[in-house]
Structure formats: structure tokens, C-alpha cells
Amino acid sequence: MNAPMTPFAKPWIANPDGYRVPYEVFTDQVYYDQEQEHIFRGETWSFVGLDAELPNNGDFKSTAIGDTPVIVTRDQNGQLHVFKNLCMHRGALLVRESRGNAKSFDCVYHQWSFDLTGVLRGVPMRRGVRGEGGMPPAFDMANFGLDALRVEVMNGLIFASFSKTVEPLADYLGEGIVANIQRIFNRPIRIMGDYRQYIHGNWKLYAENVRDPYHGSLLHLFHSTFGLYRATQKGFTYMDPSNRHSLLKATASAAPTSASEDQEVYKDVRSYNTEFHLKDASILVGRPEFDDRASLVINAIFPNLLIQQIANCLAVRQSVTHASNAFEIVWTLFGYADDDEEMQMIRMKQSNLVGPAGLISMEDGEAIEIVQDAVIRDGKKTSVLAMGGVHSGSVDHMITEGPIIGFWENYARYLNLGADLKK
């Protein structure tokens, strides 16, 4: 609480040979507390769910922004609300179920009852019992509604903010990111289900991971082995003007320009094997469904969302923080409401690609944990971000760490780290 800002005084270094981030950002509680205040409860929009998860009036889900528990609910008029999941009496967690349908939210402790718009409607024993006790005349129920967050819904994605002053969502995201949301959420979706995975590492290691197109074909050998994504593939790395968000996009053909080029690029890669064949190759047989024919789109939205399109595997991934060394990923996979049966089957098969046991995502969990475990005693040492030149911003290739630099520039800005981190 109110930790001194001195730990932030040291400058982060952006030299021509690399942008350096001190490892203590992943381990030190001071950073964690400041992030909760200045990022998750600060001037940002956080993803909290899909409106397709709450189809009916009265539907609710509980989730968290950073580590602050919130309730997302659709009131009796169909309006979406997001509240802090905190009883206004003495602070009990108001909703304990992860999902449900309710007419009101009733606190179990003393049964204060809130309607779905957050208004306090009932206080048992408010007038006392047999003329004794009761709330004082000055107690006005109108002053004890739930803490409501700002809410904006874009193409069915629900975002919430604790800030009264943050720019409107569309401005926060920028045109290019809004265009990708419109591209993927172009019609009603059908939810396939969730995965939830606990990762024993800092949430920012995942923020780096999803802004890192360079690791794709190196860590995830399924990619290069089966040609879902290769570094020889054409693609681009887009960043919004603020460099908070990124869009990594690979175009359809993963075929190498020539076999010899492929061999050259991957000559140092362990167990890369173009000879390996699947017994059931139907997992790789998709159906083009976007005009741009992109096979891989990884759209990281600051601070807690990732939107993915990997072939026909569509998902949102929400990060929920638990501690400086623990966070959770909630994946929601979806298709479209008008998918035919074959398309539903394609998406089911391709769901094997992602999630806690995903063929191209299992390793991300491991990569994060081995970094966390190793840097714990080396807080003053730094990583080095240099691939693709030491700069953020859009480039017309994917062999870059630029989006990660963009993340850190913004991180430093939100936490007011003080150093001029731009080159």
C-alpha cells in the first residue's frame, strides 16, 4: 500500500543494441500493487466477457479486472452492467457463483439485496425489531448502490473501466484494432466453451509472449512441423498509434519459398522435422472464411485481452492476475451462430491447437514459468529486446520484438516510471 516510488527511479535502458527491462518488474510486489492501481483500475479498458455469454435478462457472470472481482450482468431491460463484486455493507463478496441467472444479488452475510442495476433495494431489520435497533434516520439506501464501472460493448465484446476519464473505447483501441474486432466479430457468435489455466508466473510475461511473433515457429514446433506457421511466411506486425495494442498477422500460405530457404532458416532448430506426417490430417483441414485469407491473427489488447484467429480456431483470452508470480488465462472459444455442422466440427478439431494442452500453446505456459523461476533472484538484471531493431511500431514482417517494446513503453507511462524510454 502506497509503496514509495523510489524503486522506479532507475531508468530503463534503450540502447542501439537492445531495450532492457529489469526482471524485478516480474517479481516485486511494488510493481504489482502499482499495476493494479494505475493499469487495471486506471486509465484503461479491460475485457470482462462476451455478450453471448449473457444471452438472457438476469444472466450474470463473475470475473476479475486485474485481481479486483467484478460482476457482469444483464438487467431486466437487457442493459449490461459491471459492478465491483463487493457488498456495500461490510465488504463481503456479493456473488460467489461463476455464472447464473438472478432477479437480485443478495448478500449472504446480512442479506442486503441489490437489484440488477446495482441499486440497494432491501436491508433486513432496517426499521429494527419490535421497535428496537434499526438503521438511523440518516441512512439513505440510495447512497449504497453497488460500485458501477463504465461499460462499453463493441461487436459483442464487453469492456469495463474503473476510470471516469479514460477515452471512449473506440479511441482507446484505435482504428486498426477496431477493424480487426469488426472483422472477427462480424456476425453473431456461438460459444463453444472455456478453458481456464493457472500459470505460475507474472501476467506481463504473457503480455510479452502474445506480442512476440518471433517465438511462434521456434517454441511451438507443431507450427513449423506441420506448416501452420513458418518464419518464411509473409506477414506483418501492426501497432495502434499508442503502441499499446498489437496485431500480428500471417497470410494464408505457410509454404516456404523454397525447401532450401526453409532448411536454412530452421537449421539451428531442435527436432524440426518436415518428414513427420499425421495419421489424421483433418485437424489441419480448415475452410477459408476471411477475405484477407490470413491464417494467423494474434491481436493483443492492453491490458488483459487477446483475440486470436488461428486457421478456423477463434478465441478470446483474458488474463486475470492473482499475485506477482501467478495469473490465470481464461480462454473462450467460439464459432458463428450460422456455422454448418461441418464447420462446427472443423472448429472442434482445431480447438486441440490451443488451451492448457494446446498443440501450439501448451509450451507458452512452460516458457513463462521457466522465466519466472529463473529471474526471481536477479531483479536488477535485465532482459534484452532487440529482434527487428530496437523500436516499437508497425513493420511489414513478423521477425520482431517491437510490440513488446511498445507494451513496456506504455507500462512505464502508466506507472509513471519517469525515464524517457524512447530512443
Binding site: M192, Y195, R196, L221, L278, D280, S351, N352, P356, E363
Partner: protein, 167 residues
């Protein structure tokens, strides 16, 4: 229907369960795959949360025999070196068994999986329920039980780590 199982079939089913657990506890993926019917079999690993919500999404969705074999290759070939080795101990108890005709039985069993990471302590990975369609193949005194379908419905809302081996 539950009374219709013979002692010999029941023993074959027990042997199948034992073979399955022994395979996974040894990390022997080929032996795991060989507990499934050779021609046509399915393996699904799904969260209780999705199952309760009536949603199809599975952690592992192997809807044909070929994908069960491919999962062996993913673990033993593609993923080699990328995951932290861990060992498991599976424990099960049978909850119900019903004859389903054609030498087939529907079974449910509770399971617990303990996990020991290399250099670490032992912890519960998850518990859950197996929902099986088991077939007795062969006749006379030479028969064995195989899975036509195994559906592992795991209880953990949040998995404690990434997952390499099937449940």
C-alpha cells in the same frame, strides 16, 4: 441392467482400467493408445464446467483413432524438450456399470490424479469422472476389454498448470 455383467467381463474391464492407469503412470503413450479399440475409438478430456453448461469444448478432442495415435506422436515427438517432465499417479473407483448390448458396457468411475513435477513435491492435478463405452472383444477364454470411447470429465475449474498427458 447392471446385474448382467459376468465375472469374467468384469475382470476384463478391471484389467483394462489397470492397463490404462499403468500406461499413464509410466508415461507410456503407446500403451495408453493401445487401450483403445484399434479400428474406431474416441477420447475426450473435458472440464466439468463445460460439461455442466452443455458446451462441447474439450481440452483434448480425439474423435477418431488416428488422432489418438497422433496424440502419442505429439507428446513423444513434437513436444519433446518443451515441457517440464512430470509423473502422475491415477486412482479410480468404479461408480456404475450398465450393459449396453453387443458386448458393450457403459461405465462411470471417479478418478484422482496426483502429479509430481521433477524436483518438486506431489500435488493433486485434478479429480474427475471417467464416462466410458467399453467393448469386450474376442471370445472363448481369449477376450479383452477396450475403450470405444473414454470421456474424462475433470473437476478443476482452473487447471493448476499446462497439461501434456491425457487424463
Amino acid at each position: 441392467m447392471s446385474q448382467t455383467i459376468t465375472a469374467a467381463h468384469s475382470a476384463a474391464i478391471d484389467a483394462l482400467h489397470t492397463a490404462y492407469l499403468a500406461a499413464l503412470d509410466k508415461g507410456d503413450m503407446a500403451a495408453w493408445a493401445s487401450t483403445f479399440a484399434a479400428d474406431n475409438a474416441r477420447y475426450f478430456c473435458i472440464s466439468a464446467e463445460n460439461d455442466h453448461r452443455g458446451l462441447p469444448l474439450a481440452l483434448m478432442y480425439d474423435d477418431c483413432r488416428g488422432r489418438i495415435d497422433d496424440r502419442v506422436s505429439f507428446v513423444t515427438k513434437v513436444w519433446v524438450g518443451t515441457y517440464e517432465p512430470y509423473r502422475t499417479r491415477h486412482f479410480i473407483q468404479r461408480l456404475s456399470c450398465e450393459a449396453a448390448g453387443n458386448n458393450q458396457y457403459r461405465l462411470t468411475s471417479g478418478f484422482t490424479i496426483m502429479m509430481s513435477a521433477e524436483g518438486g513435491t506431489t500435488a493433486v492435478l485434478t479429480s474427475g469422472e471417467y464416462r466410458d463405452l467399453i467393448e469386450i472383444q474376442g471370445d472363448g477364454d481369449k477376450f479383452r476389454a477396450v475403450f470405444r470411447e473414454r470421456r474424462a470429465v475433470y473437476d478443476a475449474d482452473v487447471l493448476p498448470r499446462y497439461i501434456v498427458f491425457p487424463f
